[in-house]
């Protein structure tokens, strides 16, 4: 039977929303206080969902120890207590949480092969959350 397993992780990081494609006024207009020159930070919650058949011998979609190790290596060590704007992934792209979601999904999909990574959902604050892929309700 196919089931889905989700685990939540936390990182704290700073970012500044700014693009050189806009003028200073446009950046201010579009991003508001998120454009303040020295950035600001969030406690992000990253929810990773895996899908797969439940193995009869373990009762699991995958062993959470393996997922924890992969997320720690690929995501937490990379982004926790960093300024996202300095990460190579965000040199060409603004580190919005939409883009962070897409990048975290890509990093995990490339590195984790013990189950299918079906969704990454990130809470930037308790009021804002983002999911990728869009519409993956499972």
């Amino acid at each position: 039977m196919r089931a889905y397993f989700s685990r939540r992780y936390r990182i704290s990081a700073s970012h500044r929303l700014h693009t050189d494609a806009f003028s200073a006024e446009e950046n201010r207009l579009v991003y508001g206080k998120c454009n303040n020159p020295h950035g600001h930070g969030h406690n992000y919650v990253i929810e990773v969902t895996l899908g797969g058949q439940v193995a009869p011998e373990t009762g699991m979609v995958c062993n959470l120890v393996d997922l924890d190790a992969c997320v720690r290596r690929e995501v937490i060590e990379r982004f926790d207590h960093t300024n996202l704007n300095f990460d190579p992934l965000f040199q060409e792209r603004v580190p919005t949480t939409e883009n962070l979601c897409i990048e975290v999904f890509g990093l995990l999909q490339a590195a984790f092969h013990k189950a299918e990574v079906v969704r990454v959902r990130i809470e930037e604050t308790s009021n804002n959350s983002f999911e990728y892929p869009a519409g993956a309700h499972r």
Partner: protein
């Protein structure tokens, strides 16, 4: 179509063990979850049903009825029990979060009048949960 979710809680103990494996393999795969005297969790169950809104009542399903069905079929059987030892479906399946979600689905399927089960979500802890959508 509207999705409607009802939560319930139960507290239970369990452990992970596969009788077909030697002890070392159980310890390697399941870690401290294999401690034979068990350990416990406060589980949160979210049952989501889907259906059309009844034009007269304005309901997809009567929430009180859904609450009573969850209580009768699941909570009264699982709450303050040792899942491995006291709940029949876990005599043959390891009571992982995934298997609990599947077992809850089986207990509820076809029992909710006027609505279809859409999802069963079981939180073992706030940071760890499993979803089952009735897929083979």
């Amino acid at each position: 179509m509207i999705l409607l979710t009802r939560k319930a809680e139960f507290s239970a103990s369990h452990y992970y063990w596969n009788d077909a494996w030697p002890e070392e393999e159980n310890r390697r795969v399941f870690g401290k979850c294999a401690n034979k005297n068990g350990h416990g969790h406060n589980y949160t169950l979210e049952v989501t049903v889907v259906g059309d809104v009844d034009t007269t009542s304005g309901f997809v399903v009567d929430l009180k009825q859904l609450k009573d069905i969850i209580e009768r079929e699941v909570v009264s059987v699982y709450d303050h029990r040792h899942l491995n030892k006291e709940v029949p479906e876990f005599a043959t399946a390891i009571p992982t979060t995934e298997n609990i979600a599947i077992a809850v689905w089986r207990r509820l399927e076809g029992k909710v009048p006027g609505a279809k089960l859409f999802r069963v979500r079981v939180y073992e802890m706030p940071d760890l949960f499993a979803d089952y959508y009735g897929e083979p």
